[in-house]
């Protein structure tokens, strides 16, 4: 399997990840080698085998439900304490409209 730099830039775009030109060429090499190994899975016949959707769960389906009652939550100022930019009780971000 060949991974081109164009594919790397496309995937990086999906992942919202800025990569430098050097990182793009290195990533193409690494992904090609790792995906080359991973592709061997296609040799294995898994027809009729269910996909694992849950690792392990030992109780009733509804066991994790709780009463819909109000509980202590983080106060606004503490929840915002790690924000790079906060203000007025909100997370501040740059303009959303322009891309």
């Amino acid at each position: 399997m060949k991974i081109t730099e164009e594919q790397v830039r496309y995937v990086a775009d999906l992942a919202n990840l800025r990569l430098t030109p050097d990182e793009v060429s290195r990533m193409a090499r690494d992904m090609e080698s790792i995906l080359g190994h991973i592709d061997k899975l296609n040799e294995l016949d898994t027809a009729g085998v269910p996909a694992m959707a849950q690792v392990l769960f030992d109780a009733d389906e509804t066991a994790t439900l709780r009463a819909d009652a109000e509980r202590n939550v983080l106060p606004n100022e503490i929840a915002l304490a790690n924000a790079p930019q906060g203000g007025g009780g909100f997370f501040k971000v740059p303009k959303v409209i322009e891309r």
Binding site: V8, V11, A12, L14, A15, N16, L17, R18, L19, T20, E23, M27, D30, M31, S33, I34, L35, H37, I38, D39, K40, L41, N42, L44, T46, V49, P50, A51, M52, A53, V55, L56, F57, D58, A59, A63, T64, R66, L74, I78, A79, A81, N82, A83, P84, Q85, F91, V93, P94, K95, V96, E98, R99
Partner: protein, 481 residues
């Protein structure tokens, strides 16, 4: 008081006999750890204030006629992917360099409720991604057994502090071997419990269907005591198990006569090495204690690496999407638009291995590839879990190597990510099946490098695993007479 030799029991009896106070143990542990740390870089920082407050609470309780608690006064290190209220938690990443969590992980709350004293946060691979601890943004950890070598990863710091004696026990996390492999490289005990046995509330998520919290210790008893303190249902983690926590202490009788042990042949082919020889000596020692040993087969093993690196990267790409410059301390300057802010912050904040896994995960989940990769891997995961179920129909426990080789030199595998991934072969299968597994010291190579023996049991059968490991340890390990 020699901090580097203390055990949980030793501390409890010392406290009860008033030989020392919890504050004295805490101060001595902090002083020793701070003096030794430049050698290994195993601690990222110390939580002295919080530790001393916890120690004073233990002393006050004893002075009032109370018991020290199951972990009373025990100095503990916590891997830096587990959040601690008011104590920086970086996950070994620039992205979270200044992150101070507003809450405690359940495991941390339970440790302190049991009387433990958290003295610092342990270095690790960035977001727990790596097998050598070289992916930490704050420098690698060095192996106390040989400072030119890696301690393993990703919980390299948690393993190193216990081996070095700068903490009595520690918490790590395991997604594909990140507790057992560093435990084996550093010559300590490391336990990955059943999936769901320990709450992950407050464990920074890497791959949620594979992530575990588990203990490191210098002996099996201490590892079992630590697990007992943190295990059990937690309503803050919907995946945490309801099954009651058995009494591990009572299970460690030293008597393993008649226990059936399976050696999966796929784990021993091509293992003509010092590691293989040491593991076989360990198996011989177990036979001498009366265990019955037979060969079993886990035929899907050869697909495990591919399966694991699809699932873990897919889940990681999703879990790491939250680091976008909005909520978690870091935002790159010169980002005039929202989109530029996302891209720049993530480009600047993540290291090479995180980027690689985000890219692989995004790729395997992207349009047109989902069925071929992610769904295929989930089917293969079912086959791997079935292999184990079949084996546990025949035997009580499986014994295997932890790693194909002992600790390697710093830098030796950094340029070949595939080779690094392939070295996880013996540990990732247990995580994929969600079964408990552990590494127990099994001698050293001629060069003095520790080797770990892996013991795996069926879901929630930690007691059998501890019984076997403790009997092995009690009778002198591979040197059993």
């Amino acid at each position: 008081m020699d901090i580097s030799k203390l055990t949980i029991d030793g501390i409890r009896s010392g406290l009860k006999a008033r030989t020392f106070s919890a504050r004295e143990v805490c101060e001595a542990a902090l002083a020793f750890a701070q003096a030794e740390n430049p050698k290994t870089n195993a601690y990222l920082y110390f939580s002295s204030e919080r530790a001393l407050a916890a120690a004073d609470a233990v002393d006050a309780n004893i002075a009032a006629g109370g018991e020290p608690g199951p972990l009373g006064g025990v100095p503990v290190a916590v891997k830096d992917v587990i959040v601690t209220k008011g104590v920086r938690t970086t996950c070994g990443s620039r992205m979270l360099e200044r992150y101070v969590p507003p809450y405690d992980a359940t495991a941390v709350t339970r440790l302190e409720a049991a009387g433990a004293v958290i003295i610092g946060k342990a270095n690790c691979d960035e977001f727990a991604m790596g097998s050598s601890n070289e992916n930490s943004a704050f420098g690698p950890v060095r192996n106390p057994a040989d400072l030119e070598r890696v301690p393993g990863g990703s919980s390299g710091g948690s393993a190193a502090v216990v081996a070095q004696g700068t903490a009595v026990v520690s918490l790590g996390s395991d997604t594909g071997g990140s507790i057992r492999q560093p435990a084996s490289f550093c010559g300590v005990v490391g336990v990955t419990p059943t999936y769901g046995r320990v709450s992950r509330y407050g464990l920074v998520a890497f791959a949620s269907s594979l992530d575990h919290i588990g203990p490191f210790a210098r002996n099996v008893r201490d590892s079992a005591a630590l697990l007992a303190a943190i295990a059990g249902r937690d309503e803050m983690d919907a995946t945490s198990a309801f099954a009651p926590v058995p009494n591990y202490e009572e299970a460690m009788t030293g008597d393993v006569r008649g226990l059936k042990i399976g050696l999966p042949k796929e784990y021993f082919t091509g293992l003509a090495s010092e590691t293989g020889d040491l593991i076989m000596r360990g198996v011989e020692a177990l036979k001498k204690r009366g265990c019955e040993v037979k060969e079993v087969s886990l035929p899907s093993t050869e697909w495990a690496i591919s399966c694991y690196y699809i699932i873990c990267t897919a889940e990681a790409s999703s879990n790491l999407a939250r680091y976008d410059g909005v909520r978690y301390t870091m935002r790159s300057a010169d980002s005039p638009t929202l989109s530029a802010m996302y891209r720049n912050t993530r480009g600047d904040g993540f290291g090479a291995e995180c980027k690689r896994r985000i890219m692989l995960g995004t790729y395997v989940l992207s349009h047109g590839y989902y069925d071929a990769y992610y769904l295929k891997a989930q089917r293969v995961r079912t086959l791997i879990a079935r292999d184990f179920q079949k084996a546990f129909g025949e035997v009580d426990a499986l014994v295997t190597p932890v790693s194909p080789f002992p600790a390697f030199k710093l830098g030796e595998k950094l340029d070949d990510p595939l080779a690094m991934y392939l070295s996880d072969i013996y540990t990732i299968t247990g995580d994929l099946a969600g079964i408990p597994c552990m590494s127990v010291p099994c001698g050293s190579t001629a060069a003095g490098l520790p080797v770990g023996m892996q013991i795996l049991t069926n879901h929630f059968q930690e007691a059998t695993m501890f019984r076997l490991a403790e009997a092995f340890e009690r009778n002198g390990g591979i040197n059993a007479a």
